[in-house]
Structure formats: structure tokens, C-alpha cells
């Protein structure tokens, strides 16, 4: 417990440092927000084009699809806010030997490298996702209970951790195979699967996306809470997946550190 509090304090401290840092580059905020709005606008047009041809795709109507889009947006943005930069930077840190100082500190090294930088623009950007969901719920006329909100947030968190685990594992493959920038592309491509309803995929692929590469657990599950249709069994399953992925990450990290070469400048 004492340790837990200490780690929370460290997280806040690093977030504070990043805020001080980011204040120096304020204009980034606006441009980033602008980009995200354009991106979302494009997604809307896509959805609009698709639903001008039909009423329902994989059993999701247009506003349910918007909820899925919004959920996906929140998860991706929050993942980017806390972990994305850290994971990409990790590749160079491993290659160029910049992990040295992390390793000599009396603190969990994975924690340090994973949370060092916070990208504040992404936090503000995630708000757009909440707005989309709110609007879609209003259009659908569904009322949401506080329990559902809590479950939704829990599964969003779970989704972020799954994305983190996958990206982190890809980054630290650098320990074994040198430069791994193309692996990030793999990450990007895999996250494609979080965008659409799982029902559109064939059975075999759907099973893969629920287990080995649980992209449907990431976004479909939380969206289902709001759309209706998430059973409690699935809830436990989602959390089990999240926890086991985190455990794999920790194990892989400790294996990787044994191969760390600490290149000198």
C-alpha cells in the first residue's frame, strides 16, 4: 500500500514535469486538436457513406456505430496520452543505451519507462470521444445508469492496458532484433480491428480477435456496455485478458533486460 502510494506520487510528479515542459510549446495543442477534429470528421463522412447504403452493419445501427467510434477514439487517445510516446522512445533508448539511469534507480524500471512522458494534447482530444458518445446516446434515446458508466470506464481502462501491453511488447522486441520501427506499423494495422463491430468478421478471425489479439475486447466490449448486450461473463473475461497481457509484458521486459547492451555513446 505504501509502495502503491509512492508510485502514484511518482506518476503525478512525472505528469507535472511534462506539463511544465509542454507549456513551452503551447501552439502544438491547437494544431493537434485541429488535426483530431479533421480526422473525426473524415470518420463521420465514412460512416455516413456506409449508412447511406444500409440501415445496419453487423447489427449496429448508425448511432451505435458512432458510439463505437467514440469509444475507440477515447481509448486510442488516452493510450497515446500516457503510453504511446514512451513506447516509441523506448526503441531508441534500448538501441542507444539510454536505459542505464533507469536501471540503477531503486524503482520498477518498467513503470519508469512506461509513464515518463505524458502527452497532454491527447487527453484533451479524448474529450471529443465523450461528446460523440453523448450525442449518439441522445439520438438513440437510451438512458444510462451509473453502474453502466462505471463498467464502461472500467472496460475503457482495460482496453488501454491491452493496447499498452501489445505496443510495449512490440517496442521491446528491439532487445532481440535491433531496430523495430516497422513493428509500430504492425501496431497501427492491428488497431484497425478496434474500429468496426466484431460481428462483421468471420468466426475464425473473430475468435483470434477475442483471444490472441484481443482487439475486440479493447473497443467493442466497452461500447457494448452502452449499446446493451454485454454479459457479466464477458466482463470477467475482458479483465482476465487485460491482467494476463500485463503479466506477459512484465515477464518479457525482464527477459529483455538480460540482453540489454548499454551501447556507449
Amino acid at each position: 500500500m505504501k509502495d502503491f502510494l509512492r508510485y502514484c506520487r511518482m506518476t503525478l510528479l512525472m505528469m507535472k514535469n511534462c506539463l511544465i515542459r509542454e507549456m513551452q510549446f503551447r501552439s502544438n495543442f491547437i494544431i493537434r486538436l485541429f488535426t483530431e477534429v479533421i480526422w473525426l470528421g473524415m470518420q463521420f463522412i465514412y460512416v455516413e457513406v456506409l449508412y447511406s447504403l444500409t440501415q445496419s452493419i453487423g447489427g449496429w445501427n448508425v448511432w451505435e456505430m458512432v458510439i463505437l467510434l467514440g469509444t475507440n477514439h477515447i481509448i486510442n487517445q488516452l493510450f497515446e496520452a500516457f503510453f504511446f510516446d514512451n513506447c516509441t522512445k523506448l526503441v531508441d533508448q534500448i538501441r542507444l543505451g539510454d536505459l542505464d539511469f533507469v536501471l540503477v534507480k531503486p524503482i520498477n524500471s518498467q513503470f519508469m519507462v512506461s509513464l515518463r512522458y505524458t502527452d497532454y494534447a491527447s487527453i484533451t482530444n479524448s474529450m471529443a470521444g465523450f461528446a460523440m458518445i453523448g450525442f449518439a446516446l441522445h439520438k438513440l434515446g437510451t438512458a444510462i445508469t451509473p453502474v453502466e458508466v462505471l463498467l464502461f470506464l472500467l472496460l475503457v481502462l482495460n482496453g488501454i492496458f491491452i493496447l499498452y501491453s501489445m505496443m510495449f511488447c512490440l517496442s521491446i522486441l528491439t532487445f532481440w532484433i535491433g531496430r523495430a520501427s516497422n513493428l509500430f506499423e504492425l501496431y497501427y494495422q492491428l488497431t484497425q480491428f478496434t474500429r468496426y463491430p466484431g460481428e462483421i468478421y468471420r468466426f475464425g478471425l473473430r475468435m483470434v480477435l477475442l483471444t490472441a489479439i484481443p482487439m475486440l475486447v479493447v473497443s467493442n466490449f466497452p461500447a457494448k456496455v452502452l449499446v446493451g448486450g454485454l454479459l457479466s461473463g464477458r466482463l470477467f473475461y475482458a479483465c482476465a485478458i487485460g491482467v494476463s497481457f500485463l503479466l506477459i509484458t512484465t515477464w518479457l521486459w525482464s527477459m529483455g533486460l538480460k540482453r540489454y547492451r548499454s551501447a556507449s555513446s
Partner: protein
């Protein structure tokens, strides 16, 4: 053999650049093959998504947009990979802007070498590797979706397609170079680049075939240079460009390439003047 041919000519140094770059890329083999293969994943999701649309209970093709069948759509997205394989220049703008910002440009300015051609060769090397890997990765993918590739192009369409790929490559290189040159005038352009990339993704027809958008938009968007980075090569090969339109489509493409060439020359001239005046 190529080496023997080029040695002594002015193209020799560019060949050296090209081959050095190629070696650098190959050194990271696992990385490369993984990247090349998984790039097709979006095609898979897109096929599933459109399949679901075309097979949903209430499906009806809306009258407001050009008629496309499921095979048309799948072929479009598949050919998009080929087209973007020619036109997308990942990292080029960033590299150029960093060279300018960090003063690394001096390295090139003092050497008897044209920075523009250096960058072009560098990208060509990239593309060469890309297509080397594509020889292994593309055929199985196209084989898997063979039942959707219904249209067999005419000779004219094949010729038009190859010409449009040349346009696609040059549009990509020239546009990326131009945007990179913005660093001569603006300090921080990395976030701006992201906006441009997003727009490019949309306006090239990469996300949605441009002809599916409201006709008021299509009318203008299809004649922008971005459409030549993806949309037009795809439309030509799936047989959506009539023989009498072919000339116009390709002609406007070449016009854009010409305009971009002039703009690159001008930007470079003004930019380097400013660069040496400010001192990098």
C-alpha cells in the same frame, strides 16, 4: 553490371546513394518483412466491412453516387496498395524539414550534388526495396481475393494505369519535398505535417473512393493533385475511366507534375537564399 554502365557518368554518385540506402534497409530484414506483410491488414477489415454492408438486410445502392459493386470496391482498395506504393513517401517531409532546421543542409550545399535529386534517389531506393518485398507479399494477397478481381483491363487501361503510376510517384516526391521546404520559413512544422498527411489520406481516396462522396465535393476533389496519388490509378484499372476521358485525366496529372516541378525549383531557390542569409 549497372555499376559498370554508370561509372564515370554523373549518375554514378546517385547510384551509390541508392545502393547504400538499399543496404541500410536490408540490414533490418525481420523488421522489413513484418512491415511489408502486415500493411495488408486494413484491406482485410475493409473487405469485411463492405461485405457486411452489401449483405445487410436493408441494403440498397443509393442513387446519389456512382454505382460500385462489391468486387469494384475490393479491387479499388487492393489497387490502392499498389498506387500508394508509388506515391507515399513516409518520413520524407520530416527528414527534409529536420535537415533544414538542424542546419544539416550545409553538408549538401557544400557538396557538388543536388539536394532534390539526392532526396529523390533516396526515396527511389526506398521504393525499390518496397517493390522487392512486394514481389513476395503482393501475389498471395491478390490471389486470396481473386474472386473479387472481376474486371480484366483493356490494353489502354493498362497503359493508362502505368502512366498514372509515374504521375503518382512524381506527385508524391514533389509534394513531399515542397512541404518539407516549408521549414525554411517556419520553425516547427511537425504537427502541421500530421494535418497534411491526414488530408492526403482522405483526398487521395485512400479512406473512401472519392466518387462515393456527395457529387458537389467529388466534382472538385477529383482534380486535385492528391487524387493522382491513389484515386485515379485505381479507377483506371477497375475500368471506371472511359477511353475518351483517359487523355483528360492523365493530361491534368502531368500538368500538376509540371506545376510542382516549377514550384520546387522556386521554393528551393528562395529557401536556400533565406537559409544562407539567416545562417541556417
Amino acid at each position: 553490371m549497372i555499376e559498370a554502365l554508370l561509372k564515370g557518368t554523373s549518375a554514378w554518385k546517385y547510384w551509390v546513394i541508392l545502393s547504400t540506402r538499399t543496404q541500410e534497409d536490408m540490414a533490418y530484414r525481420a523488421n522489413y518483412m513484418v512491415g511489408a506483410l502486415f500493411r495488408f491488414l486494413p484491406l482485410l477489415t475493409t473487405i469485411y466491412l463492405w461485405y457486411a454492408v452489401f449483405n445487410s438486410p436493408g441494403y440498397a445502392w443509393s442513387g446519389r453516387m456512382g454505382k460500385m459493386t462489391l468486387p469494384d470496391i475490393v479491387s479499388y482498395y487492393a489497387i490502392m496498395f499498389v498506387a500508394r506504393g508509388f506515391s507515399s513517401m513516409p518520413g520524407m517531409t520530416r527528414d527534409i524539414s529536420l535537415d533544414i532546421k538542424d542546419g544539416l543542409l550545409n553538408r549538401y550545399l557544400i557538396r557538388p550534388i543536388s539536394y532534390f535529386w539526392y532526396q529523390t534517389m533516396y526515396r527511389l531506393a526506398h521504393k525499390l526495396i518496397f517493390w522487392l518485398a512486394a514481389l513476395i507479399t503482393f501475389p498471395p494477397v491478390f490471389y486470396l481475393i481473386r474472386e473479387y478481381l472481376k474486371h480484366s483491363p483493356t490494353v489502354l487501361e493498362w497503359v493508362g494505369f502505368f502512366i498514372s503510376l509515374i504521375i503518382a510517384f512524381w506527385t508524391g516526391v514533389l509534394f513531399s519535398f515542397l512541404i518539407g521546404c516549408l521549414a525554411f520559413w517556419f520553425l516547427e512544422i511537425s504537427t502541421f505535417l500530421f494535418v497534411i498527411m491526414t488530408m492526403e489520406f482522405f483526398l487521395s481516396g485512400h479512406l473512401i473512393p472519392l466518387n462515393l462522396m456527395p457529387s458537389a465535393i467529388v466534382h472538385y476533389v477529383q482534380w486535385l493533385p492528391f487524387a493522382y496519388e491513389g484515386y485515379w490509378p485505381c479507377m483506371i484499372l477497375i475500368g471506371k475511366v472511359q477511353p475518351d476521358q483517359m487523355g483528360t485525366v492523365l493530361g491534368i496529372g502531368f500538368l500538376w507534375v509540371g506545376i510542382f516541378f516549377v514550384l520546387v525549383k522556386l521554393c528551393w531557390k528562395w529557401g536556400t537564399q533565406r537559409y544562407s542569409a539567416v545562417g541556417g
